[in-house]
């Protein structure tokens, strides 16, 4: 089918006699290409003065010259201030009190700044009700130096000026007058912001303010509102509790905003023979479960029955072991009277209300001054979500929330994009901001002003600690402008505080200095302006439990929380305290279910943990290829999955980890039913840092029961190991058992660190604090998987392989004969179905007889008189003998250069991220060993401060990053030559023991034996 069509290359071809066409037929180019002109013909080349040999000479000379020139030392420029601020002395840190209120974490903090840059977050000791400075809050300073942050406002995807944005917003606000426009915000808990929003609503009456907590506590807030009239969350003081019964509430984790571990830990340290008793009924293995005296795995649907039984109902329908535990808990609660408390995470307002009624008369609950930190109403948020999808909502202003990422509605993203008026206040171009028509770049809280009422009557202030890094404006500043409330939010805030909160005579400067101010002034935040509908009384998720399939409990991880700091490498690399796995979320299943479904976890040749993959389906939504981690203690028939992962927009590719579990967050309820999982081919590589999960009866974490602790002699439950000398058993601490000449440590300071295993909840705040203080590098997922993590401080987690650790020891002691030992030791390698759990922070033990020091061929590690084991990085040649000879495995080797290396593109690889580095601690290079220095830069500074003032060091003045960060007081640091100090007392405590004491290393870190309250009735 030949075609007659003729194709024309140019108009010229129409002209038959065109010379060009003719020429082109003969020659590809119309004109000859002047190759000779630019290459030169033979003659010119020969005539040229630069011959090939000359050229080579020049190249050789310039190379030589360049390399010679490179031998010169670099010229380093120093640029002082032109006008130095009064308060800044270069080289001396300043501290500012501030408050984080990012919608998920609320805490009073102290910000350490050096030369005007914030470098570390610390606890504000002046704040008595300040929330908890957890791992995420510690890491939040790095989130400010995030290179993926929005650098300025955007209008329709184009960079714009603030004036343009304000004009555009005003236009849209006027255009949508009378229509349904929703202001969807995080919980601010801010008196001034509430007032501004009220003014804003007065000006634009069509605007609805809806509070959206990404991770909701709606049922509890609903219950509190129904019962007491104000929308808030009851506060608890667990230090007053004798019996704590928790049903599905991970209160040591992030339950209702978290922050309860400090008070909880106080009650857990045996005092006068007493400590609190903790029952935990839960589905996932949580931090609370891990710390509980009695933990019972119960599926979410059965948790309701447990709760009903506890509140007076019968135990029929419960499994025998659960019923038994419930009866025991009931008995103990009855005995404890007003010092007993029930808390629950069951997402049912009716049950929450019943629990509030139960607790009402008890000492532990504080209902008069409740928490004001999670005010969102799930049903109201659902209305907005559905309104946007259905089209009834015409405009959406989002502040500090990311609904496109976190709304459990598959059509929401598309509907949002189609909205005419979308304005996103965001720090990053996240999933929502990237689709919004108008984007207002907001500053980080460390660059902002603000206030918060974390607890009724306890007001806190947020103050900027650095000039905004980018062209950003606070939401509040915009509101001030839109509502014509003066010239700046700062003035507005100050005026408002002076008029209300400080009206009882408080001083603004003092309040700003302290960061907190307690006032009797009644101010409601958020609730006034936010819409609330009738509180829901039923729980959709749980009634659907009959559908079959698995029950899913969605939880937040210690590291990422609700996911807003997903681009923070410190948090990504923080191993989960329970699973010890970083850089991932995964489905946790019980061993029994895993066996049934053929799901497996196994270790490969390099030690890395691998796992099967599953598709998780619920209500038509499927998450594909989700890795599976077999979790000891997971209630059979239930699975767990962490929220906050699967972020993609404005998150660096290395940190786009995990799957987005918000897809299953129906009704904003953490428990869901009717989930099916189906094994698919393939395997997942985890970055799990603990390869061995059990102690196999060894003496690593020493623990005993309260009864033995109270009644038996210390030698029975905390014996000093003995060695044989001349066929005599002598204690290993005896000088006769010592091969070494001991240093004289009686003079000057002698630092010791005490870790109370009863108080340590495994929260991981110390790990991040250590990261920040000591410039610990981030190594990334594949290196973590190879066990090349650089954490100077790790928190080991052990499972018992029997029902309890005591059972382990007994089993080990009863092993006899080769056959038995092979099989039984093999069994002890795997954790029990519902194991006891224990945490143990391990850092360099600073041994007085350090095995590492004797094997270093270059004397790079040596001992100080003050008890610290020094590490001179510049002397280290990287033989790694020390790491091999260390019985505690706490030395970390720099396999690579982690700073300024594109292969490790984390915070140390960009100028912004490097601003967080502590200038007092060197950044280590490739090929050297590093380890915990017991924060020698901090002890040296404390000593120097005292010397400069000409005074002795005060008791309790010495601190390390981890001891300062420890919310529960588990880590204590000090000078044992100061006999008035707390650390001296702790060293003399009968619970004190050294890790692997039998080795004879005489560590300067010691532990306090864990005591479990197994008292019954």
């Amino acid at each position: 089918m030949a075609s007659n069509k003729k194709y024309w290359k140019s108009v010229e071809e129409l002209n038959e006699n065109s010379s060009i066409v003719e020429t082109l037929k003969q020659n590809e180019f119309v004109e000859p290409i002047p190759t000779d002109d630019f290459l030169g013909d033979k003659e010119t080349l020969e005539a040229s003065s630069t011959t090939r040999r000359d050229f080579l000479k020049y190249v050789g000379f310039t190379t030589a010259a360049a390399s010679l020139a490179a031998c010169e030392g670099p010229v380093i420029k120093s640029i002082p201030y032109v006008v130095a601020p009064d308060e800044i002395v270069p080289g001396v840190a300043n501290y500012y009190a501030s408050t984080i209120a990012d919608g998920f974490d609320f805490a009073n903090v102290l910000v350490k700044t050096r030369e005007g840059r914030p470098i570390k977050i610390e606890r504000n000791d002046m704040a008595k009700h300040g929330g908890s400075v957890n791992a995420r809050v510690h890491a939040s300073v790095l989130s400010m130096y995030d290179k993926n942050r929005l650098q300025g406002p955007k209008v329709n995807g184009e960079d714009a000026s603030w004036d343009e944005l304000h004009t555009a917003v005003a236009g849209k606000l006027n255009a949508t007058a009378g229509q349904d426009v929703v202001l969807l915000t995080q919980t601010f808990a801010s008196p001034s912001t509430s007032q501004l929003i009220a003014d804003f609503k007065t000006k634009y009456p069509n605007i609805r303010h809806v509070i959206y907590d990404t991770v909701s506590s709606s049922a509890a807030a609903d219950a509190f509102q129904t019962k007491y009239g104000t929308r808030a969350l009851a506060d608890y003081d667990f230090s007053k509790a004798e019996v704590i019964v928790s049903v599905g509430a991970d209160f040591i984790g992030d339950w209702q905003g978290g922050g309860y571990e400090g008070a909880y830990a106080k009650g857990r340290i045996p005092k006068n023979g007493k400590m609190s008793k903790h029952f935990q009924f839960e589905a996932n293995m949580t931090l609370s479960g891990a710390n509980a005296d009695v933990r019972v795995p119960v599926k979410p649907s059965d948790q309701i029955a447990v709760l009903n039984a506890l509140l007076g109902g019968g135990t029929s329908g419960l499994a025998d072991n659960v019923a038994e535990a419930v009866n025991k808990a009931k008995a103990q609660l009855a005995k404890a009277g007003s010092k007993g408390v029930i808390i629950t995470g069951v997402e049912d307002a009716r049950l929450q209300e019943a629990v509030l009624t139960y607790n009402e008369s008890r000492e532990v609950i504080d209902k008069d001054r409740p928490r004001m930190t999670a005010m969102g109403s799930a049903s109201e948020v659902a209305n907005v979500m559905n309104g946007v999808v259905s089209g009834s909502v015409k405009g959406l202003i989002t502040v500090g929330v990311n609904p496109v990422y976190s709304f459990p509605h598959t059509e929401f993203a598309a509907a949002y994009e189609n909205l005419d008026f979308t304005l996103a206040f965001a720090m990053k171009e996240d999933e929502t901001a990237s689709k919004a028509k108008l984007v207002a770049a907001t500053p980080h809280y460390l660059e902002s002003w603000g206030d918060a009422q974390l607890k009724k009557g306890v007001f806190s202030l947020t103050q900027p600690t650095i000039r905004p890094l980018f062209n950003t404006q606070q939401f509040q500043d915009c509101l001030v402008q839109w509502t014509e409330n003066g010239d700046s939010y700062y003035n507005y805030l100050k005026d408002m505080w002076s008029a209300t909160i400080l009206a009882d005579g408080g001083s603004w400067s003092q309040a700003l200095h302290d960061g907190v101010y307690e006032s009797a002034v009644e101010i409601t935040t958020d609730a006034d302006t936010a819409e609330t509908t009738e509180t829901s009384t039923s729980s959709g998720a749980l009634s659907a439990a009959q559908e079959g399939g698995f029950e899913l409990t969605l939880y937040t991880k210690t590291g990422l929380g609700d996911g807003q700091q997903a681009n923070n490498p410190w948090l990504q690399e923080l191993p989960d305290p329970i699973t010890r796995t970083s850089w991932d979320n995964y489905v946790t299943v019980s061993a029994a279910d895993a066996k049934e479904l053929g799901l497996e976890n196994w270790n490969v040749a390099n030690g890395g943990l691998n796992g099967s993959l599953v598709n998780v389906t619920m209500g038509g939504v499927t998450l594909e290829k989700v890795p599976v981690l077999i979790q000891p203690g997971q209630a059979a028939g239930s699975i767990g999955l962490a929220l906050g992962y699967g972020r993609t927009d404005s998150v660096q590719s290395e940190m786009q980890t995990g799957v987005n579990a918000y897809a299953f967050y129906n009704n904003f309820s953490a428990t869901q039913a009717g989930v099916t999982i189906e094994k698919v081919s393939g395997e997942h590589e985890f970055a799990c840092v603990q390869l061995h999960n059990t102690m196999m009866g060894r003496d690593i974490i020493r623990e005993t029961t309260l009864e033995i602790f109270n009644t038996k002699d210390v030698h029975d439950w905390n014996p000093i190991p003995e060695v044989s000398k001349d066929h005599q058993e002598i204690p290993v601490t005896s000088p006769d058992a010592d091969l070494w000449e001991a240093f004289d440590r009686s003079i000057g300071h002698h630092f010791n660190l005490s870790i109370d295993l009863n108080a340590c909840t495994g929260c991981g705040a110390c790990v991040i604090a250590c990261h920040a203080e000591n410039n610990v590098p981030v190594v990334g997922k594949s290196e973590m998987r190879r066990s090349r993590d650089m954490h100077w401080l790790r928190i080991d987690r052990y499972y018992s392989s029997e029902d309890s650790f005591a059972g382990d020891a007994e089993k080990k002691d009863n092993i006899s004969g080769l056959g038995s030992s092979l099989s039984e030791y093999g069994e002890m390698e795997s954790a029990s179905a519902n194991p006891q759990v224990a945490f143990q922070p391990v850092m360099c033990q600073h041994c007085n007889h350090a095995p590492c020091e004797t094997v270093c061929p270059v004397a790079a590690t040596s001992h100080g008189r003050q008890g610290q084991n020094h590490m001179a990085y510049n002397r280290c040649v990287g033989t790694r003998y020390c790491a091999n000879n260390c019985p505690y495995k706490v030395r970390r080797f720099n396999w690579f250069l982690y700073a300024e290396n594109d292969e490790f593109d984390y915070n140390m690889n960009n100028d912004l991220g490097r601003m967080v580095l502590n200038p007092d601690v060197v950044v280590r290079s490739r090929g050297v060993m590093e380890k915990c220095s017991m924060c020698i830069q901090m002890t040296q500074k404390t000593i120097l401060d005292a010397k400069r003032d000409g005074r002795p060091v005060k008791s309790g003045e010495f601190k390390t990053a981890c001891s300062a960060a420890c919310e529960t007081g588990a880590i204590k640091f000090g000078d044992i030559n100061d006999h008035d100090s707390e650390i001296f007392e702790l060293k003399e405590d009968k619970r004190m023991y050294h890790l692997l004491e039998a080795v004879g290393t005489e560590p300067n870190v010691f532990y306090q034996t864990k005591v479990r309250n197994t008292n019954e009735a």
């Binding site: 120093s78 010397k947 000409g950």
Partner: protein, 455 residues
């Protein structure tokens, strides 16, 4: 009087010309030796100007009042805000006695605000012209005092930048030395040529006369003899190897040691003038040395504490700078003004700041922690112990090698200053008992432990 002022103005014009030439001929210190002749030329030129100026100084006003007493009073009371020849915080004062009525001046100087408040038109005008800067009242000054001060204001402007008489001669010895050397070299050269020629002529002469010249017998050349003696070769090579090793070690040990490093700084700042001549305490500018790990490079606002009123150095200093160091100090002060954004004309900050990029001289590696306050405040070490005679350095240089050996030596030798420091009370008592001596060195206190400086 009037005549005098015009003459003065002429003088000023000339002076300014002079200054301009000076500035154009500004010679960087580094290239000084190369430019001797150029400098000489400049000096000759300036001298010729200065002679004419000198001649005109005889027209100075003669006053009954005491200019010496006036000068004293002026410097004590007025100099902070007033200059004679140019505007500072207040207006220039030269010839102020002619501008205003004497009685009015008495009142103004004793209490200017009173006049302003009284609504004196002239006073209000003056007050407004000078940015409403309130002049300090001097009620204690008598009329005579004021007369003396006013008399002083008539003194001639400072002598222009003139080199001293020998300025003209200075370059000469250098030139003549060179010439003598050249002539000597030339003479030696000629002598050698003459000798060779004589030798040649004599040989030729002998040849033509048939005289047989004895040829030296050829023995084994010395190098061959040396090469054949194996023992000598062995000894020599061992010697060479050892000395090569010695020098290689020496060379390598100085890698990264920048003793004597004195880079050119963006502003020629003379520690000699500030710390030496003017005896400003080091800690005045490097204030953080007392409380921080860094001594701190002073921020420019610290410079302006003094330089707000010191826009020019003394004439003699300027001459010295140009002669000895080839530096125009006044131009360097202008650089400071440009950096800090100070407008001399309006005596106000413009807000246009250009931070100075100093070249850092003392560069400790990152892995060594050093704290100034420990040494300055606690130990009471003099700055000069490590930084050398800074008060004599025109351009600051690194005095100490800053090597670890150098640190350690000092820690071994220096006794810890425990006096009046309660921190040391207990540890000192215990350690002295242990070591059996009263004085303890830093090393005995634990100052040699690795972790004290490396973390």
């Amino acid at each position: 009087m009037f005549e005098n002022t015009t003459i003065y103005n002429q003088l000023r014009a000339k002076l300014m010309d002079n200054n301009i030439t000076d500035r154009m001929e500004k010679v960087p210190y580094r290239n000084l030796p190369k430019k001797w002749s150029f400098i000489a030329l400049v000096l000759v030129l300036t001298l010729s100007f200065s002679q004419s100026t000198f001649a005109s100084t005889s027209f100075l006003p003669t006053q009954a009042a005491d200019t010496v007493a006036g000068e004293k009073l002026f410097k004590a009371n007025c100099a902070a805000c007033h200059k004679l020849g140019k505007k500072a915080t207040g207006p220039a004062l030269r010839g102020v006695g002619d501008k205003y009525d004497r009685e009015w001046l008495y009142k103004w100087i004793r209490n200017s605000q009173e006049l302003v408040k009284a609504g004196d038109a002239l006073a209000v005008k003056l007050f407004n012209e000078n940015n409403q800067a309130v002049m300090t009242a001097f009620p204690t000054l008598t009329n005579d005092d004021i007369d003396n001060i006013l008399a002083y204001t008539y003194t001639a402007p400072p002598k222009p930048v003139i080199p001293e008489g020998d300025g003209q001669v200075t370059p000469d010895p250098g030139v003549s030395n060179n010439i003598i050397l050249a002539i000597l070299a030339l003479m030696f050269g000629m002598l050698i040529i003459v000798l060779i020629l004589v030798n040649k002529t004599l040989r030729r002469f002998a040849e033509s006369q048939g005289v047989e010249l004895k040829e030296k017998e050829k023995g084994t050349p010395i190098w061959k003899a040396f090469a054949e003696n194996q023992f000598l070769v062995l000894v020599t090579s061992i010697f060479l190897l050892l000395s090569a090793g010695y020098f290689a070690y020496g060379w390598m040990m100085q890698v990264g040691v920048d003793q004597g490093y004195a880079p050119v700084q963006p502003i020629h700042y003379s520690h000699r003038i500030h710390a030496g001549v003017n005896q400003i305490d080091c800690n005045y500018c490097h204030s953080s040395a007392r409380k921080s790990k860094t001594s701190g490079i002073p921020s420019l606002n610290v410079c302006m504490n003094c330089h707000k009123s010191i826009a020019e150095v003394a004439a003699a200093t300027q001459v010295e700078g140009q002669n000895e160091y080839g530096v125009d100090y006044n131009a360097e002060i202008q650089k400071l003004y440009a950096a800090v954004g100070w407008d001399e004309a309006t005596q106000a900050y413009t807000g246009e700041e250009k931070p100075v990029k100093w070249v850092r001289i003392h560069n400790l590696p990152d892995f060594a922690y050093f704290n100034h306050s420990q040494h300055v405040t606690v130990a009471g070490v003099e700055c000069q112990t490590c930084h050398g005679p800074v008060e004599e350095m025109e351009i600051l240089e690194q005095h100490a090698p800053l090597t670890m050996g150098w640190c350690i030596n000092c820690h071994r030798e220096t006794n810890v200053n425990v006096a009046d420091n309660e921190y040391y009370e207990k540890i000192h008592a215990e350690l002295s008992k242990k070591y059996g001596k009263e004085k303890l060195t830093a090393a005995e206190m634990g100052g040699l432990e690795c972790g004290k400086c490396h973390y």
